[in-house]
Structures are given as C-alpha cells and as structure tokens.
Symmetry: C2
Subunit: 697 residues, 2 copies
C-alpha cells in the first residue's frame, strides 16, 4: 500500500498531543501549526484545547477522516489505540515510543511482533516504533519530535533517510551548513512494518526528490533495497549511502545496535556497486555528494584538470584525488603548448597546471586557461584553486569560463572567502577543503560512470539436471557435468569400476592421467593414497586402480563408488571462482588467485550476480596478483577472456539453480596460455537439502 | 651561526620601505608599528618619513647597529644592497623577491647561486629568496608581507614551518579556527641559505615552541632534518608533518614546484617513523595534532574506550579509529559487569559502550561509567559522544570524571554546541567531527608510542675486508664472506679449480651440492648450463665440473675463475633483505618475501638504518605474507628470530661500509624451521668505484 498517507498526509491526528511545545506530544503540534498545516486534530482526553487548537477526547470524536495518526503515548497503550484508529479508518500511524525490539528483551520483541502483525492484518502502515519521525518540507508536513527540522528551512530536492536519530540530526545540520535543502527527512526507527526499502521506494517515485542521503546500519531486505536502488538509477537520481561496519568493531557495534541480519561488509560494497549506489566513507560526504548532484548535467566522470595559483595546492589535490580513486590525466600536447604560451617555465602545464603568480598580470589569461584545460574529451571536471582574493578578483573570468563550457568548474578556496550561493547561481561548485572536494568529486564521478554502464544480462534458459531431495552435495563428476550445461568448460572425467573399464577409458582420454577414488566417506584422499597423479601409461593406470581399490576396501565403513580418471593438465595458472549466498543480498561471486593469494593476502574481488563476461574480466583485472595472468616474468599471457567467460557461465548456472543451491565453487579454474582456454579442474556444488530439482523435459 | 638575528632580531631595517601599508615594502612596517616594535628603521631614498616613522636614504645612514635587513626590492638590486648591509655589520637578511631558482631558468638559478655564495662568504644568514617571511608572536616581530598574521593574535607554543606561502596561510587560518596559538610562523621560500632543517633546529631549541607543524614538499638535507627531529624527540616536543607526494602525480607536481632532490615517498615515511615524526594525511590534521599536544601529559597511546549515547556513533567511531590505525580494545569482564549494572540489555558494554537514553535518568551514571571505562591499564583515552544538549547537561559529571583521572577525555559533539575553551580549561579535549577526532587521536597516540621506544643501537666496530678501487661489485663469494664478518649467517661456498679440488671440497661440504661456474663474463648461467643443482655424490660433482669447464672454454672471450660448490638447502622459506641509498635520507632497508610477493603485491616494509633485531622482527611481522613464515597450512613455523638477527646484521654491515657501498642485498635469505636458523644463500654488494677500502689491522 502506498506510503502517501504516512509521508504526504492530508489530515493528521496527534494522539497524546501536549500543550507543552517541548514535549514529544507537543513538538509536532507546534511545528505543524507553524508550518500552517490546517487539517490538524490534537487528541487529548484531559484538555479542550492544545496549543490554541480544539482538542478531541478520543480518536472517535475527531470530526474528519484521518490519513495519519501520530501516536505519542507509552508503548503499553499503543496497540489498543491503533485498533481504534483502524476502526475509524485511519490509514497510517507513526509510533514514537521506545520499549520494543531495541531492548533486546523478550517482552519488547513480542510487543514489536504484535505491532507488525497488526499492520499485516489491517493494512495500516506503521512507522517506527522508536523513531524520531519525519519532515516533508515541500508539503510542509512535520511529523517529528526532532525540533531541528524547522518549517522556516527551505524545501529542496534532497531526501535524508536514516536508521539513527542522532545521525539524522547530525547529517541534517552538516548538510544545511553546506547549503543543501531537503524534500524529506525520515528516521526509520525499528522498522516493524514500513522498512528502509519501503521508504526508499517511495522516494524513488517522489517527484520532489532527486537525491537520497542514507545512513544505514543493517538492511533487513536486501532484494527490496536493490529494487528501489534500481528505480533511482533508472530515473537518474543519486543514491548516496554511509554504512557503518567497515571495521570488525564497527560491524559488531552496528549488529548489537540494530539486531538485524548481519550482512558482510564486502557484500554491502558489492551490492552498492551493482546497484549504482555511491558509498561515502565519512558522514560529511553525504552532504557533499548531494551538493554536487545539483550540477548533475555538468559531470560525466572523475577525470580532473587542476588549475592552481599554488604549485603546492596542485600537488595536494593530485594526491587527494589519487587516494580517493579519481583521475588526473596528463593533458594533450597541444593543450600544454597553449598553456605554456602564457605560463612561465617554472609553472607545470602537464596537469596539475601551476598558473603561477602570472595570473594577476594578464587580462584573460585565466579564461583562456580554463577553456584550454576543459577542451580534451578525456577531462570531465576542472578544479580551480584560487584562495581568497585571487578567487574574488578572478570571478568574471571564471564566470565567462563556466558559460563557455558544459562541464563543471569546481572552485576551491582554503581561505573560505568565496560566496557559495553566488557561485552556484553561475553553475560553479565551491569547496573550502582539499580532501572533501577530492573525495566528493572522485565518488560522484565514479557514480556517474557506474550508472552509465549497460544493464545486467538476461537470465539463462538452461536448467539444472535433476537431483534427489535429501542430498547435500553433488559428486565432483556430477558438479562438473552440471556446470558444463551452462557453458563452463570442465575437465571431463570417466568413472570406472574395473581394470578393464579403467584401461579403456584411459586410452580414450590420453596420458598423463589423474586417478581418484570416489567415495562419500573419505575426506583426505591424498593422505590415504587415494589420489594418484601423473599416470603415464595403461600399466600405471591398472596398478593405480588395483592399489587404490585395495586400500579403500581395507578401510572400514567406506563406500566405494569407483575410480575417476581425468587428463592431467600442466602449464596453466590456477584461479578460484565461487558463489556464496549473503544473508541480505543473496548470491555473491568471489574471484581470486588460489591458496596464499586468497588466504593470506585477501586478494579477492566480490560482485553480486548477475555478472557477465565483461564484468568477470574486470574482476580479474582488479586483482593485485593479476600480473601473474598477464605475462609475469616473460611467461605467456593467460587466456583471461576464456576465464572470464567461464566465470560468467558459473554465475548463470547459480542463478538458474536458485534456492536449490547453497554454494558453488570452481577451484581450481585452470587458465591456460592465451588462445588455449580455461577449464574447471574441480567443482563443488552444495545443495539445500529441502529443495529437490526435477529436470525439465 | 645562530638564527637569532633572523628570528628574534633586536633591530630591523626595511629596505624598500613603503608608505603604502598594502605593498610588500609597507606591510611589515605597518605590522611592526602595530606590534609596538621600537627598533625599526625604514630605508627609502625618496621620502623622509614612512608611515609616520623617520626614513633613511640608505642603510649606511641608519644610526644604530642592525640585526636584520628586510629586503623588499627587485631581484636585480638585491645583491649590491646586501653587500652594503654586510659592510655595515647587518647580521641577517630576508629577501622577498622572486625571480631566482623557482623560475627553472638559468638566469634565476645563477642569481640564487650568487646569493648562496654571498651568504657562505660573509656569514650573513639569508632567508628566502621568494619567501613570504616570518612572524614571531612571542617577541612580537612581524617580518612578513602576509597580512593574515596579526599582532593582535595571541602568542602560543605552536610553530608553523612551511615550504609554500599559500599553505602557510591556509594552515594558519585552519589552526586559528581550532584555537591554536603560535610561537613562530615561518615560510622558507627558496632556501638559498637558511633551509628547512636550519629553521627546525632553531625551533627545537626555542623555549617558546612545544610543537612544530610542517608543510614539506621536498627536503634538501635529510640528515640535518633527522638531527633536528631527534632534538624535538629528546625534548618531548611534537613534530607533525604534512608531506605532499603520496601519489605519483602529486610527487611529480611537488618535484616540478621545488626543483629539489626527489626522495622516495616510502623513504619519507621510513624517515618520519625513524625520527618520531607524526605524518598526517590531511592539512587539517596539523592543527588537530597541535591541539592534542596541549594535553600531552594525559595521552599515553591510542587505545580508546568509547562511551556514546548513540549506538550509531559508537559504531562510526570504531570504524574511523580502525581505519586510522587506532585501537578499540574489548573492556575487561569486571568493567563490563560494572557498566551493565546501570545499562539496560540493549546497550553494548564491551566497547564501544552504548550508554543508551538511560543516561538522562540517573544522577551519577555517566561519572561512574567514565571512571569504569578509564580504569583498565590497556585504555589510554576516553572518547565520549554526547551531542548538543546531552553534552551541556552532563558537563558537571564529565568535569568530575576528568578531575578523577590522569588520562584524556575527548568530548565529541556533532551538533557543535560545546564550548571548546571552557572544556580545555578543565583538561577535556573537544571535537565536532568523528573522522578528524579519530584520525588525530590515532596519529597522536602512535607518536607517543614511537617516542617512547628505546634509542637506536650503537654502531658495529667490525670493519669490511679490503677491496681495490675501480671494482663496482664484489663476487658472490666475497660478498657473502664480507657479510659473514658482521654476523650474517651465509652458505659458505668453496672455489675450486680442478677435479681433485672439487672432489675434496665436496666431501668436506657434504651432499647434495650446487655447483656454479664463476666468471665475470656470463650473465645467464642457468640458461648456459653453468649452474648445476642437486649433485648427489662425488661422481656427479666431477662430471659437473668437467662439463661446465668445457662449456665455458667453448664460449669466446669468457674468463674463467673456477667453480664454486655449496650445500643445496631445502625446506626453508625464501625472503629478501636489501639496503639502498635514498638521495635524501641515506640507507633504507627493505624486507619482503621474494618474487611475486615483492614484485606484484608490493608486500614490502621499509625502514631507515639503523634497525636492530627487534625492529627487523617487527618489519617481518608487518608483511601481509607473514603468515607464510608463521606456520601456514600446518607447515612448521619459520625461524623468524634468526631471520631478524641476520637482517639486523646486514644493516650493521652497511652502516660500517658507509660511502664505499652503493647497495647490498641478500636474496634469498633462506629461513629454516624454528630453531634451525636462517642463512644467506646469495648476496649482492655494489660498490662506489671511487672509494676503495683498506682493511684495518
């Protein structure tokens, strides 16, 4: 059901309305009166008026139909009141009271479950409990006891959506100082009914909102979040997130605080990347990205030209951009030559450009330099360091430069003497701090590049083979055969049960060979001599078959399914590709070089499925150890394209298998020299025991 | 010669003094008059007065002896004026003019060389050229044309020393806003005579200065910088540095800007660590560390307890501290139990501690929590998140908490409602931003830990063996024998010239063996079959000797020095340890695992020499790949202690060799399982050809 009655109510009853404008039941009344909201009905059994308005003894006495009830009473009294509201036809309610699931105690948790069940049963939408409430600046609806959200503050196109009341207030203050104006401010509270993703979905459809700034501790419904994020992306709206839990201590604290499902930090990163969400590392980044979104049409990416009256500032900005993931490309020769015509030998012109003190001597020097530096297609943004009076004196040239380009000019002034609003009116962004400017531009430009990327590939129509319920894993042979259906190249093995079968299969495969005993009951086959490598001829295969069978038969309780034979490959580089299920976001693909690379160096890359071959290629190239695949020390380059295709096929297979699967891994995927392919040597498929698959015809 | 005439002059002549208080020759006159400086003598041939003071037509006419001449005239006229100043006995001069080496042109460079030669010849100390000048707040001496340094600003104990005029002004403004007051502000300019390290040395001895904030592009004299830094450390004074060039683009820009020797960024990091210098990554960090130094006696390290009224803030602070290298230790069980007595079940007590809204209900609850959290020895600092009115209402409890502890309490208030000065008066630090607080506390605490470390080890008395001038490298045998003198365990090899010698030496060494042909003329011995591994008995050794000699004799122009035999070792893990000479800071030790670890993963650790065994041990443990030495996948742990000892011995050897050496590397150093030592299998010693060593008796 729509959240309009909650977030754009046409009438409001305040239950527990207080005459005291400082109390929880008084603040929203005071704010709504000040905002000129006219369909406001205080409910208070003890007083005929509240803050000058007629008050009603109970909800039933309110003479009009009500969209939203603000429930400013203690937790124990909430549910009976909600029942009466429902009886009157109230469409939504907001519960301020604490004492629910956040207590981590059974009584509060039960109370919250009752609230959720009530919402489920009646269809009433319930905000909170334990929330600070919302403010809708465009429609002038202030349903909050947070007094910092003032009706006098201007309405804007930025929404603030947070899971913490304190951070809501903190980000709001910071953003207001940065000149950001808001459409909605929403504090979600315990999310018993309406949850974070519901609000986000509303904001994605809300015409007044162009940007959402989010503070997230833990998401309850990753899939719903991703759907709402996709709406933002499709509408060209910016979604910016600060998420706690980047460190183990922080994650532990967030989990304890919210009692929500604990998604992995890497999964959040993968989800945000997949959904085109800009994640910032500092709270101040939320306001800065919202600010930059005001210049959305002028920013195509994060490749910056830097013009500076200070060589020092050019160097500092270059460092800060590099650290934040931005780019400072070397300017083309003709642009450098053009700049050099007016810049003396000691001023660098390659980028960063040191304008030198010469700036003050020449009339249109800066204007010319701005035009030249913005000319190359490879440059997205111009950073201009002119502190204090330099900026003020150069204003006319900067304005003319801004008028002559479709790209963004960002003025940086560490002396804090510029006029941010006057600059914004001319389409010029303004920062007073090197690092905040660099972080914001790098993150915003990266977001633009992500949302410009093509949409995800369509799902595969291939189906998994049938397997019976009750199994919790496929055999290696079955696992590889299943993946092969989806286009994963695999080392086919032959399962043999006798010396004769073994010799025939071996001759068909060719030598050298690997032989493995197949049994669900032996864990460490190498240690027991049940894997034999490098078998060079039929005699060796026969001997290995006999020895392994004899050994296995001597082990008590070991079921023997036979022996597999497969070719022994050499000359490739081993990588691993695995898909696991994150509890919040679902299937996450992990790619890395095997062994110490993954375990000690943590040199892995994660993405949410779906991932196409181009995406898998990018994942491989992002590894620090990618050089090993790229012709390290004169070795031949590995067939990265084939590896990427195999990894993408693994992803398709997992999506097609869906809930029947728990985890699928190829380890190793042997990547041969260029042109010679990549092949899954071993594969692991873990199943959900309760879900059997029956193969399609 | 002392810098007192420059930085604490008893009399000043201003040459080129202007009546206009906005001009370069007018600003210092105006500032000095305003500061009440009485021994001030304007020199101006065209006017009998300047800004109301008697002016003199030339320096000779000035009636008193002069400590410092401020030279505010064009570059072409500077040297003749300095000659006349010298003739009058002026002790120091400051040259504002540009047009010297910063032009990157021959004429300006020659002018600067003349200035340096003049200073050298006369003993006059020259500041600049191309500098903005200095301000000495304690003595009220303002010898600068930078008008932001106002005589009305309070004097303090923080010095600001920068290589950029713009950054000088930027940091000064930021620090003033943070409440920092200054002893000296110095902009070094081109450093033709007085350089960065000279100023730093003066500040180390200056009683008025307790902290120096430095902005560095490139240092010219690394050794002098390290000496001055050692004085700071010995005096317990904080030295904080922002250094550009952390990225390649930034380093390139800094080099272009300063035309100074390009030290490696890793060498700067190593030097700052060795010298007990706190390096900050953002300019704002300079002011924040100076501010924390005001609480120097209360901070022992960066292990923090976090108390917060917001679970969100506790999580954010934990993340920010972890990212900045700080620590959030779990509180001991008894402390947790004590906190739990007053904190409901939903508030986390392990650290971060979530005080919950309960804070407002209980009288001395916060005071008790502060005392409990600061009780463990493992906690250095208490971070207290109380925004806005929470902070104001809790002030009395916080003050009583601060009075009851010798440790620092840092109040963090993102609503910016606290009174920084009132808090400081009670010994309580105050920040308004999570990330700045976390970065500053992590960096300051780390600095305290570094300066508390024991001093560097004494130099070795061992001497290098003699080697003749003209050689540019030692043979592998000679290199290993030389390092062995200093205690590096090496694989001794035997150089043999005949089958008979070979057989005898082989029997003495034991089998298996490695044999290598020794020749200065063959580069790729393996490819030519001139290295033979795994020789198992005397017959194999004889055969290898004959084959290799025959092969070498068949190669034209190849000189043959014989064949070396050495034991073939197995079962260890290879690491590398090398010492190279950084152009600014001298000997830098690099330690890493070999091959791909070093080349692709850049998993290396750098330190300046000297490094003792404990230091080498810490270097090894800082490697991401250290797990390989530490019993990876059930392998035996490697003899890290022996490896550290060998690396420390390598460092001693290089320091003893001094300028005769260019580079020394052990690759590999084979680290055997615990208790079985580490041994240099191969060593490289590159020599300075112009420096021969003659061995001591």
């Amino acid at each position: 059901m729509s959240l309009a009655p909650l977030l754009k109510p046409r009438s409001i009853a305040v239950i527990g309305a207080s005459d005291n404008p400082k109390r929880i039941g008084g603040v929203p009344v005071e704010l709504l009166i000040r905002a000129g909201y006219d369909k406001l009905f205080p409910v208070n059994p003890k007083s005929p008026t509240v803050q000058g308005l007629t008050a009603y003894p109970d909800i039933e006495s309110v003479p009009e139909s009500i969209d939203l009830a603000l429930v400013a009473i203690g937790a124990d009294d909430v549910l009976p009141v909600l029942e009466r509201c429902h009886a009157k036809g109230v469409k939504a309610a907001m519960v301020f009271a604490a004492g629910y699931a956040e207590t981590n105690e059974a009584e509060g948790q039960a109370k919250q479950a009752e609230l959720a069940a009530f919402a489920q049963r009646t269809g009433m939408r319930i905000a909170g409990p334990n929330c600070m409430g919302n403010a809708n600046f465009g429609d002038r609806v202030f349903t909050t006891f947070g007094s910092q959200f003032q009706p006098e503050h201007p309405a804007g196109s930025t929404a603030l959506l947070t899971q913490s009341g304190n951070m809501c207030a903190t980000v709001y203050r910071t953003a207001r100082r940065a000149g950001v104006a808001f459409s909605h401010v929403i504090n979600t509270g315990n999310e018993a009914d309406v949850d974070f993703a519901d609000y986000l979905d509303f904001l994605a459809d809300d015409d007044a909102t162009q940007t959402a700034l989010c503070y997230i501790e833990e998401l309850r419904d990753g899939a719903a979040f991703l759907r709402a994020a996709a709406k933002f992306r499709a509408a060209g709206k910016l979604l910016t997130v600060f998420k706690v839990g980047a460190s183990e201590k922080g994650a532990e604290a967030a989990r304890s605080h919210t009692a929500a499902l604990a998604g992995d930090n890497a999964a959040y990163d993968a989800a945000f990347a997949a959904a085109g969400v800009a994640r910032v590392g500092e709270l101040s980044g939320l306001a800065d990205l919202a600010y930059l979104h005001g210049f959305v049409d002028k920013i195509g990416g994060n490749a910056c030209a830097i013009l500076s009256v200070s060589g020092a500032a050019g160097a500092i900005l270059s460092d800060a951009l590099a650290l934040a993931g931005g780019d400072v490309p070397t300017l083309p020769d003709d642009v450098q030559a053009g700049l050099r015509a007016q810049i003396p030998a000691y001023g660098m012109v390659s980028n960063p450009v040191d304008l030198t003190g010469n700036l003050v001597n020449s009339n249109d020097f800066l204007l010319d330099a701005i035009k030249l530096a913005l000319q190359p297609d490879a440059i997205d943004v111009l950073l201009l360091y002119l502190p204090g009076n330099f900026l003020i004196q150069a204003m006319s040239q900067i304005e003319r430069g801004a008028a002559a380009t479709g790209k963004l000019i960002v003025a940086i002034d560490t002396f804090a003497m510029g006029d941010r609003e006057a600059l914004a009116a001319k389409g010029i962004a303004y920062f007073q701090d090197f690092d905040r400017a660099a972080r914001a531009i790098a993150a915003y430009g990266a977001w633009k590049a992500i949302v410009a990327a093509p949409p995800a590939p369509a799902a595969s129509r291939t189906r998994w083979p049938a397997f019976p319920a009750g199994e919790d894993a496929l055999s290696e042979t079955a696992a590889k055969e299943a993946l092969a259906r989806f286009g994963v190249p695999v080392v086919h093995d032959a399962l043999v049960h006798s010396r004769v079968e073994a010799r025939g299969a071996a001759d068909a495969i060719g030598y050298p060979l690997v032989a493995k005993l197949v049994s669900p009951d032996v864990a460490h086959k190498t240690e027991h001599g049940l894997i034999r490598l490098g078998l060079k001829d039929a005699a060796a295969v026969t001997e290995a078959f006999d020895t392994m069978m004899a050994k296995a038969r001597s082990m008590p309780g070991v079921r023997i399914e036979g022996v597999t034979l497969e070719p022994m490959l050499a000359g490739g580089i081993e990588i691993l590709a695995g898909v696991t299920r994150d509890p919040v976001f679902g299937w996450m693909l992990t790619v890395g070089l095997g062994g110490v690379w993954t375990e000690l160096m943590k040199d892995v890359c994660h993405r949410l499925l779906p991932v196409d071959a181009a995406g898998a290629d990018a994942m491989l190239r992002s590894l620090k150890g990618f050089g090993l695949l790229d012709g390290y020390r004169g070795a031949p380059k590995a067939d990265v394209a084939a590896a990427a295709k195999a990894i993408a096929a693994l992803g398709e297979a997992v999506l097609a298998g869906g809930d029947t699967l728990r985890e699928v891994e190829i380890n190793p995927l042997l990547v041969m020299p260029e042109g010679r392919g990549a092949v899954a040597v071993d594969a692991l498929v873990l199943l959900n025991t309760e879900n059997a698959i029956e193969e399609a015809a």
